[in-house]
Amino acid sequence: MRVFSPSTVLLLLLCWYAPAVQAQSPSYKVLDTYDDLSTLLNRHEETTLLVNFWATYCAPCVQEIPLLDSLQQKYADRQLKVVLVNLDFRHQLKQRLEPFLEKYHLSSKVVVLADQDADSWIPKVSSDWDGGLPFTMIVKDGKKVPHQQEFNSFDGLEQFVLPHLTPVDLLIAKRKR
């Protein structure tokens, strides 16, 4: 006589896992200094990075995050990586950032830049940036293309990014190699 059928075992396993999956808080990494961010941005040589600086207290930032994330989903196979650099205070992450991430389930990479010496690192991000949020830039082959304003439409965002994505034929050629 069999006590447990395979499906019962599966069900039990699922029950055991489910609460663990639900309790898992959304992942983000806290970077202490701008140098940590710089290292992260320089690591992806063949990828097109779309780097967005934002905070939960910035209303236009919060509005454009879903657009940026849709772009990540649409162009993941074109070697696009969206990096959302959050500037909330470290001691407010639990109360501000985490509920936001739980709500949106983002595909994009989220990092928190906790470096408070903004006057020193803003010019290093881009000489075109005055520190206003949101700020977005493309990082590709060591070059940066800044965008000072928020994106109001997916089309506008796509037009900004598309010219900087790796061409499809090049991707196919690489994959065949």
Binding site: L87, R90, D117, D119, S120, G131
Partner: protein, 226 residues
């Protein structure tokens, strides 16, 4: 009648000046002389704005001031909140030495009710601000200064020349980790008769959002001033 070129030019010029004059509202949204906001050395205009205690306050109310610490701040921005105690400390330290602090809330209550006069009163009383906390709810002062986020500081000297603009110090989140006190150092420099260095710093904070205006008068000024 022969019309000479100089007379045409003069006519055109006076037409521009007159149209400018006519279309200029009683309270311009930008300083007539500095349409893009102030740079270091520019002469800042005074203002009269309503304080949380019902009085109206302007720079003329401080005849013996050697300068001012003008801070555009707000009620709900985490950065503004993080600096409230430091604003109080700055005022306590420098008001007696001739540099009083004046806080101005530049946000339109129509955009966020947390910036209305009631909320300003509540915040000022809760924190026991020893300085005026004024409402620029019609958004006529912050564009003159060129403030674009909260908090944003402008240090003026006795002649109201802008001598420092930017952030308060180099650690918004943790005051005990501050290593560079930009505003304090700027005032010390002015008290010594020196140039503040740096005179401008970049700042992260909450963007001041401008209400869209129905009137086209300020726009026509911008066009003619080009």
């Amino acid at each position: 009648m022969k019309v000479t070129l100089p007379s045409v030019t003069l006519l055109a010029f006076s037409a521009i000046v007159l149209s400018n004059f006519n279309s200029r509202p009683a309270n311009p949204t930008t300083d007539f002389n500095y349409p893009d906001g102030y740079a270091i050395g520019d002469v800042a205009q005074s203002f009269r704005l309503k304080n949380y205690d019902g009085r109206t306050v302007g720079l003329e109310d401080y005849p013996s001031a050697k300068g001012f610490i003008i801070v555009f701040t707000s009620n709900h921005c985490p950065y503004a909140e993080a600096y409230e105690d430091r604003l109080i400390a700055l005022h306590r330290k420098f008001a007696d030495r001739g540099f009083p602090l004046i806080a101005i809330n530049p946000n339109a209550p129509e955009i966020n009710p947390l910036d209305n006069m009631e909320a300003i009163k509540k915040r000022a009383r809760l924190k026991k601000f020893p300085f005026p906390y004024l409402s620029d709810s019609l958004q006529q002062v912050f564009p003159m200064y060129g403030a674009d986020r909260t908090p944003h500081v402008f240090v003026l000297d006795s002649l109201r020349h802008v001598r420092y603009m930017g952030t308060i110090d180099d650690n918004a989140e943790a005051s005990h980790k501050v290593t560079k006190r930009y505003v304090e150092e700027a005032i010390h420099a002015l008290l010594e008769g020196d140039e503040p260095t740096p005179s401008t710093t970049k700042t992260v904070g909450c963007k001041i959002r401008m209400m869209e205006r129905r009137s086209s008068a300020p726009k026509s000024i911008e066009k003619t001033e080009g």
